[in-house]
């Protein structure tokens, strides 16, 4: 009798443990998402120009820019940093029609910064960011954006 009770509680505990583990898994993997970082073969200004052209050649547009360097200069900090918000109105229409909450991750952010005299470009892979959305179309768009960004990075990297 005692053995049966033990087995039942063990099974129940294991089941609860596994459910918790799988429940937290997406959160854990989201927390492990790291940005893709690429070193540019050009200097900071040239990299910004190259991103602009690469975005266009990738069939996308720069929807907005954030010049963190200039903004932070108002605090006295001298740093080179610039973010591009990149997207495509046509693809955006598809994504937002599927799930309007994708506004959190679209347009995609590409960041350019300078460190130790070298210029780097970093971004979070859209497929990693889009994994939280249930819609298949949104996930597919994430995959396509991964490809486009990958091609862009090849154009600017060493």
């Amino acid at each position: 009798m005692k053995t049966k009770k033990f087995k039942f509680s063990t099974i129940l505990f294991s089941a609860l443990f596994m459910a918790t583990l799988f429940g937290f898994a997406p959160t854990a993997s989201a927390q492990n998402v790291k940005p893709v970082t690429v070193q540019s073969k050009m200097d900071f200004e040239e990299t910004l120009n190259a991103i602009n052209k690469a975005v266009s050649e990738g069939g996308m547009m720069v929807l907005a820019e954030l010049n963190q360097g200039k903004i932070l200069s108002m605090t006295g900090l001298q740093v080179k940093g610039h973010s591009f918000f990149v997207g495509n109105p046509n693809v955006g229409k598809e994504a937002f029609s599927a799930d309007p909450s994708v506004g959190l991750v679209i347009p995609v952010r590409i960041n350019v910064y300078e460190k130790d005299g070298k210029t780097y470009v970093n971004y979070f892979k859209p497929s990693d960011l889009f994994v939280s959305f249930n819609d298949k179309k949104v996930k597919m768009i994430g995959g396509k954006l991964d490809e486009k960004l990958g091609m862009m990075m090849k154009m600017i990297s060493k």
């Binding site: 120009n49 975005v55 907005a64 495509n88 109105p89 046509n90």
Partner: protein
């Protein structure tokens, strides 16, 4: 007979200035420069200089040339209305990926992230109609009176140029809009719209430019006069 050389000089200058407007949008969409900055640095000065050159032709009593430029502007603007009938219809039935005058407006005022408002819409429409006027100037100066079918061909070629430009690529629909919907909708709308533009332009220029020589005739006249 007045020398053609000063007139040819003015024609060349006006042609170069008129070409600025239609080209800054593809240049911006190619990622080469910002449309808003180019509008301030090049577009607005080009419009002002064209108006100044119209005044110059008036003061120099180059009446045919003055009429040629003004005809181009008026005919180009009216022809753009013809284009709009097809473009707006195409957009309303979902055969165009976006509303281009509104897009041009937000880019001109550098407020893409905020979307369009009445000011940016006015800017976009003004730029759109100025492009029509600019293409009208170019056509009128090149053909003089021409024939209506020349306008149709001219308009169609402008449409082809648009569908091969960085603009369609940056919208993500590919050349000729082959990546949009079933691959033919954009081509149909853009082609019809630009053919309509060309037909109206060609007809109006033919009616309004009676007795006005085209650039080839002017160059020949200049060459003959020099050799005599």
């Amino acid at each position: 007979m007045k020398s053609e050389k000063p007139k040819l000089g003015i024609i060349l200058l006006v042609l170069l200035l008129a070409a600025i407007g239609p080209n800054i949008f593809p240049i911006a969409q190619a990622g080469i420069a910002n449309l808003s900055k180019m509008a301030v640095d090049y577009l607005i000065p080009s419009v002002v200089l064209i108006l100044v050159l119209i005044l110059v032709t008036h003061l120099l009593k180059f009446s045919l040339l003055k009429r040629q430029i003004i005809t181009g502007i008026i005919a180009g603007i009216i022809a753009t209305i013809g284009l709009e009938i097809f473009r707006i219809t195409g957009f309303r039935i979902g055969w165009m990926p976006g509303d281009l005058p509104k897009l041009m407006g937000v880019l001109l005022l550098d407020q893409f992230a905020l979307g369009p408002d009445s000011t940016s819409n006015i800017a976009g429409w003004a730029y759109h109609f100025w492009n029509g006027a600019a293409f009208g100037i170019i056509y009128s100066l090149l053909v003089g009176r021409g024939k209506p079918w020349m306008g149709l061909l001219y308009g169609f070629l402008i449409g082809i140029g648009f569908m091969l430009s960085p603009v369609v690529r940056s919208l993500g629909v590919g050349s000729f809009g082959l990546q949009f919907k079933d691959g033919y909708q954009l081509f149909v709308v853009v082609s019809l719209a630009h053919i309509a533009f060309g037909v109206v332009l060609g007809w109006l220029v033919y009616k309004m430019n009676s007795g006005v020589p085209g650039i080839v005739t002017r160059v020949k006249k200049s060459y003959i006069k020099e050799n005599n």
